[in-house]
Amino acid sequence: MSKHVLIAEDDTLLAEMMGKILSKNNVRVTIAYDGQEAVEEMEKKVPDLLLLDILLPVLDGFGVMKTMKEKNLACDVIVLSNLSDKVTQTKCREMQVKNYFVKNDMDDDALWPAIEKYLR
């Protein structure tokens, strides 16, 4: 059975491109365009992996992770953000994020090799 990835990304173009790449690699994709939506999607069905942006409308990435903890929604998280400051990265690491990527510093085709191992 194919793996399920939830993408929480407010930039529609990026979200769709990510979705396309994952679909090509036989992954089932759900897209949430804000943090609240992401939590709701997870409450419906916990995915195998969450690709999480930090600066999100309604509820930001940290809020999403906090809610996941409170609601016991256990799932691996990879952060894909354009924030690259130390504070944000450290905070993410403290919240048990599996990996942290700066979107602007990678190409779309670098996405799959970067996350593949978390879906095995």
Binding site: S84, K86, K103, N104
Partner: protein, 461 residues
């Protein structure tokens, strides 16, 4: 006349004659005695006269001697008089000289007092805070700005150790001990040092300071140190505001750029005609370069803020070198450059991978950028004692000798490559030097114009 009378007369006469004769005899005897006495006397007198003559002779000699002596004395006296006169003159001259000297000393003292007052006024009026200590670190003087800034009066501070008066803490709030104070180090190492720290005022509040300490020498003898510092609260605020602005601006630039970059990257894989593919490819590369520039600007901003701490983990050097070389492969091939990588097998290091990549990425990108077509770039990673040494050598334009000192400066670009045709901002090497310091390493280089440049990174394994 009777016979009896005559006889008697003649008897009388005879008696008288007898008496007379006796008397005469007595007189004669007396005369003889007297004559004898006189003769003796004459003899004595003769002796005495001889003796006297002797004495007289002696006296004459003595008199002569005395005369000579007197003559000598007269000469000596004359000489003495001469000397005395001379002494009097000398004494007069000395008196004059003393007066002149006294006058001069007074004048000089006045001059010195004026100079001292001027110096003290200058010290007191320096806008930055100033404190001078003896070589044992005890405070000799502080200026007005010091008093104003810290709330301590000079008389309270004098004679105390600087650390007794001002507590110094670093950025993390740790108190700096007396032995680690800049002023102690300046005296110990006999050279000036600078640093940014925090000082505590008398009222207990802290503020950031930029400090410069220099040892004081008189005739090569160390006599103490002088510390100058100023409150940099405002500069810090400006720095912080600037950094925040940089972060926000960069993020705002990154979001749309990511969409462009990803879209172009995806388009590159489409089967377009050659010309369009080339356009897309160039557009993609440009967007990638822009992303790199933003990343570097952000990293510099973080470095300057002191907000970037190294994240140490095991790193495989060969993997890192392969990765970094791939970043620039397109550029390399397009410019017909050769790349050779030598790396000791299984060279494992413990360092911040991201920072190491940033350094190597910069060095390699520079090597390519400043090497003409057909040139060669070689990267060599070896062990040197307990450190790792990575050389990035090119056969490029090189750096003019007289400009080599300026290489670590921000925005500096060598004159032989600064033409607008060669893209470059001059922040790359500035960053490389700073990042190298973060991972405990150093950057050095040798360069010869039109022969090439070799940059060397040396960092702890």
């Amino acid at each position: 006349m009777s016979k009896k009378t005559i006889i008697s007369a003649s008897n009388g006469i005879a008696l008288r004659l007898k008496i007379l004769a006796r008397e005469k005899e007595a007189v004669r005897r007396k005369l003889v005695v007297t004559a004898e006495k006189l003769r003796l006397k004459a003899k004595q007198l003769a002796v005495t006269a001889r003796e006297k003559e002797d004495v007289r002779n002696k006296l004459v000699i003595t008199a002569e001697k005395l005369r000579l002596k007197a003559k000598q004395l007269a000469v000596t006296a004359m000489e003495k008089e001469d000397v005395r006169r001379k002494l009097v003159i000398t004494a007069d001259e000395l008196k004059m000289s003393r007066k002149t000297l006294e006058k001069k000393v007074l004048e000089r003292t006045k001059d010195l007092e004026q100079i001292k007052a001027k110096d003290e006024a200058i010290l007191a009026s320096i806008g930055d805070s100033l404190v001078a200590t003896d070589k044992n670190g005890r405070i000799l003087l502080v200026n007005k700005a010091f008093e104003r800034l810290l709330g301590w009066k000079e008389r309270e501070a004098q004679g105390k150790y600087l650390s007794e008066v001002i507590r110094m803490v670093d950025g993390s709030g740790t108190t700096i001990s007396e032995s680690e104070r800049l002023i102690t180090k300046a005296v110990k190492n006999r050279r000036s040092t600078t640093a940014s720290m925090y000082y505590k005022r008398k009222d207990g509040t802290f503020f950031p300071v930029a400090i410069t300490v220099a040892p004081i020498f008189i005739d090569n003898k160390l006599i103490g140190a002088v510390e100058v510092f100023r409150d940099i609260t405002k500069e810090r605020e400006i720095d912080k505001a600037r950094s925040e602005f940089m972060s926000i601006a960069s993020h705002q630039l990154r979001t749309p750029l990511t969409a462009i970059r990803w879209a172009l990257s995806s388009l590159k894989r489409e089967n377009f005609p050659e010309e369009q593919r080339k356009l897309v490819s160039i557009a993609h590369e440009t967007s990638t370069n822009m992303a790199v520039t933003i990343r570097r600007m952000l990293m510099i901003s973080h470095l300057e803020e002191g907000g970037r701490e190294p994240d140490i983990a095991p790193v495989d050097l060969q993997t890192v070198l392969d990765r970094v070389s791939r970043f620039h492969d397109a550029h390399r091939q397009r410019n017909g450059l050769e790349l050779v990588i030598h790396c000791l097998q299984d060279l494992q290091v413990r360092t911040d991978e991201q920072l190491l990549i940033e350094i190597l990425d910069n060095l390699l990108s520079n090597a390519y950028k400043y090497t003409p077509r057909g040139g060669k770039v070689s990267v060599r990673a070896t062990r040197e004692n307990r450190k790792i040494r990575i050389d990035v050598a090119d056969t490029g334009y090189g750096i003019p000798q007289e400009e080599q000192k300026r290489i670590p400066e921000k925005f500096f670009r060598a004159s032989n490559v600064a033409s607008p045709a060669e893209a470059g901002t001059g922040i790359g090497l500035y960053m490389v030097y700073n990042i190298a310091r973060l991972i405990g390493g150093t950057i050095s280089f040798v360069s010869k114009e039109n022969k090439g440049t070799t940059f060397t990174l040396l960092f702890p394994a």
